[in-house]
């Protein structure tokens, strides 16, 4: 029997889960990154400290360790499994940990994007009586956003790859399913090759879509 054809549904199910975790993490990482970036640029010192601590902690420890610590370590001292449910907690914790980790990098991307906007733009907005929120929302962020697209797409690609680290903490996704299939079929070479190809298609289409988006924005608005 052809091990690939026979197990393709299982692997595609894994791919579906990988895409789900990726989408959730990419959305959350942007939301978290935006909030933390604004905190890092805030005039309120405690907000800056909290955001800086968050970024440094998540960037200076391995994602795999973070996942083990929160998904498997935390239940050892807190009844989180009872609070959230035996099955839900690991999934929830893994998704959030992944998002927080990627969010730390996104924070720096967004912060740099905001700081890259010419100071005069902000002053002009202030001079026509815009408040801080309006200045950010209508003047600074739209200009920052365009220069943030390429690094954000990079980070999104990284996030897709990083979902593979959910397998070691027992979360079912593409790699996890792949390991199950290999344990049954011993078709190590074929299955890992197929898994790599699936990731490649996913990430390659993302970057193609991103460059299309970038070209569109270039034409519509400058």
């Amino acid at each position: 029997m052809d091990p690939i054809r026979q197990n393709l549904p299982v692997l595609l199910d894994g791919l579906r889960l990988t895409i789900q975790y990726s989408v959730v993490a990419i959305i959350l990482m942007v939301v978290i990154g935006l909030i933390a970036a604004l905190m890092r640029l805030s005039t309120v010192a405690p907000l800056r400290w909290i955001a800086t601590a968050y970024v440094e902690i998540f960037r200076s420890t391995p994602l795999l360790v973070q996942l083990f610590f929160i998904v498997l370590g935390l239940p050892a001292i807190l009844p989180v499994n009872q609070w959230f449910g035996q099955l839900t907690y690991p999934i929830l914790a893994a998704a959030i940990t992944l998002s927080l980790n990627e969010g730390a990098y996104v924070t720096e991307i967004i912060r740099a994007g905001i700081l890259g906007v010419d100071r005069g733009q902000k002053e002009a907005a202030q001079s026509i009586a815009m408040n801080g929120f309006q200045t950010m929302r209508y003047i600074v962020l739209p200009q920052a956003f365009k220069r943030m697209i390429p690094p954000l797409v990079n980070q999104a690609a990284q996030t897709i790859k990083d979902t593979s680290l959910l397998a070691p903490v027992g979360i079912a996704e593409l790699v996890y399913k792949g390991e199950i299939v290999i344990a049954e079929t011993f078709a190590s070479f074929a299955i890992w090759g197929l898994i790599a190809a699936l990731y490649f298609v996913l990430i390659f289409s993302l970057s193609k879509f991103a460059s299309y988006l970038e070209r569109r924005l270039q034409v519509d608005k400058r």
Binding site: E123, I139, K221
Partner: protein, 240 residues
Amino acid sequence: MINVKDLHKSFGHNEILKGISTHVEEKEVVVVIGPSGSGKSTFLRCLNGLETATSGEIEIAGMTLTDPKTNIHTLRQHVGMVFQQFNLFKHLTILENVTIGPRKVKKVAQAQADKVARELLAKVGLVGKEASYPDELSGGQQQRVAIARSLAMGPNVMLFDEPTSALDPEMVGEVLQVMKTLAIEGMTMVVVTHEMGFAREVGHRVIFMDDGLIVEEGAPKSLFSDPQKDRTKGFLAKIL
């Protein structure tokens, strides 16, 4: 319209404004001159709260800027500012540059904001450029849009910080012409500039600043032809 009492401004230990006191009447056009680094921009930026005064009192457009209870955003609706580098919003069209303040800050309906913006753009001589983006315009055109953008907020006072210094010489005139029209219409204006022709022709009063202080002030004619202080004489000798 503007009343400044003993205004001090320091950046760290560096005192830039060392006690400025002056008064600007409604419809008066005051031209501020002085050597580079004398604090002209800092003075102007204090007048709309882009810089916070270290001490002293500023009353402008009927509000006390230096009172912490004053809402700075309300105050800025009445105080327009034009920058040396134009600072047009690069991601917005010319029309949007002019309408975004009224629409987002004053919550004016789009149709009404568009109408006013078109009138203002016509006034500064930019009909037909509504859909362009700032980087498609010449410096002189951009600066005229910047003036229209400020006017769209309906200010009582306009501040100009070297509005023609970043322009090619052939574009200086068109911007000065717009400013002159504004002055004739009765706008209260404080203008930092090196354009002595403009100061002489349009200015009601010239303030000479040096080293964070007002050294001398007076009507353009008398100040230019008969300066009293040595520092004023020295400065005028260099630029006239």
